[in-house]
Symmetry: C2
Subunit: 243 residues, 2 copies
């Protein structure tokens, strides 16, 4: 795969620029990012073949992208959707994203038992797993309950062939180094959706995985200044497969 | 054409519900509405054949949809875009939408001379005109400078064959009655993009015009409760042609 990557510190600084001088609100960026995640899932695993999907949402913006994606997935025809969101944010934007999901009658699971029985049941029931737990600002080690959530997710992937779509970064990977710690050493998603631009970790994606580039909101001027080579999107798509 | 319509008062009340109990922010709704407008323009007049587009933006939310659409049109490959926005809103959201356009180097014309020379030049130069002046909350009569803007727009439509894409309602039309006043008696757009749901005026669209339905953010529960028959969207499209 040949694409230019954006290191962690640069990705954070660019995000900041998008939301200051560029005039984007986080509502807008998250909406477009989440939409591009949902479009990527649709391209890789269309609802004609895959009905059941669980979206694992973390406490930060990566989780917010997942909440947005869940709504669009419902609109795109995925019938059986669950959101697993054990550490819900209390920020107004996130509370509103939850309200929107209620409107679409998408179950949001916010608590769990000690044995993660509910999570296990839902993972077993799902064809697809969207990993929106942590993004490019994650630093190891993975703490509870997320260490266990990832463990369960990887278990159904290897034992039951469930498909994982990772949002921006496979959760637990180091944004620059990839799966460099024990907890996620064997974690490889079937699909990665890089948002804004691929991070260095994307280079550690194993051969045969699909890689999409989403978040179509960068001007040529910004791309040039930040050394991003924007891919050729097709038509009105908000995501594009790169390889 | 057979579709259920949403009367003006109901459309306003539904908008209010979307932004309260449903949890949507205006940033989100405007982003999705503007995106669906841009997708409709792409479907009706693809950038492979139509390069130049002027977006006429009014002072309210219809204008905001136009500002969002302009950005997506640029990303979709329309090379020569102008935004004509003579009564810019001072609300933060709108100032930010302008900032985003700056980032994409899209000219926003906010003042004009008494003879509307600049507007005339730009209309003459454009293949496409997006009419985002007024939406469903408009009440006649059309005041200056918008009376004159519409006059000039209709002139290049009839004399030079320019194509008009109207956002939600052809500007100046009564939302329930259609083109029932002298100023717009002869105004028929080539394309209408109804947002959320068609208003009664959409029934007055002349035969042969294209009619798109955009704004894919309504749950089945809301649709049922408000008597809206959501059309069948294709795949991940945010707009669909209805006829």
């Amino acid at each position: 795969m040949t694409f230019k990557v954006l290191a962690a510190a640069k990705a954070a600084a660019l995000d900041k620029e998008l939301m200051s001088t560029c005039g984007y609100s986080i509502d807008q960026l998250m909406e477009l990012a989440g939409l591009s995640v949902a479009q990527s899932v649709f391209k890789a695993f269309p609802p004609s073949n895959y009905h059941n999907c669980i979206i694992l949402c973390g406490p930060g913006n990566n989780g917010g992208d997942g909440l947005v994606a869940a709504r669009h997935l419902k609109l795109f025809g995925y019938k059986d959707l669950k959101v697993y969101y054990p550490r819900p944010s209390s920020k107004p934007l996130f509370l509103n994203l939850e309200k929107q999901l209620q409107q679409f009658k998408i179950d949001v699971i916010k608590t769990d038992d000690e044995q993660f029985t509910q999570l296990k049941t839902q993972l077993h029931h799902s064809d697809l797993i969207v990993d929106a737990l942590f993004g490019f600002s994650f630093h190891p080690p993975m703490r509870a309950p997320f260490d266990r959530i990832i463990e369960e997710m990887l278990k159904v992937q290897s034992e039951e062939g469930k498909k994982i779509i990772a949002v921006d970064i496979p959760s637990g990977w180091d944004v620059n180094e990839g799966p460099n710690n024990e907890q996620v050493a064997d974690y490889q998603p079937e699909v990665l959706v890089s948002l804004t631009a691929p991070k260095p970790a994307a280079l550690k994606l194993k051969k045969g995985s699909k890689h999409y580039w989403g978040g179509r909101f960068i001007s040529n001027e910004i791309a040039e200044r930040w050394g991003i080579e924007i891919p050729e999107y097709e038509g009105v798509d908000e995501t594009v497969e790169i390889n």
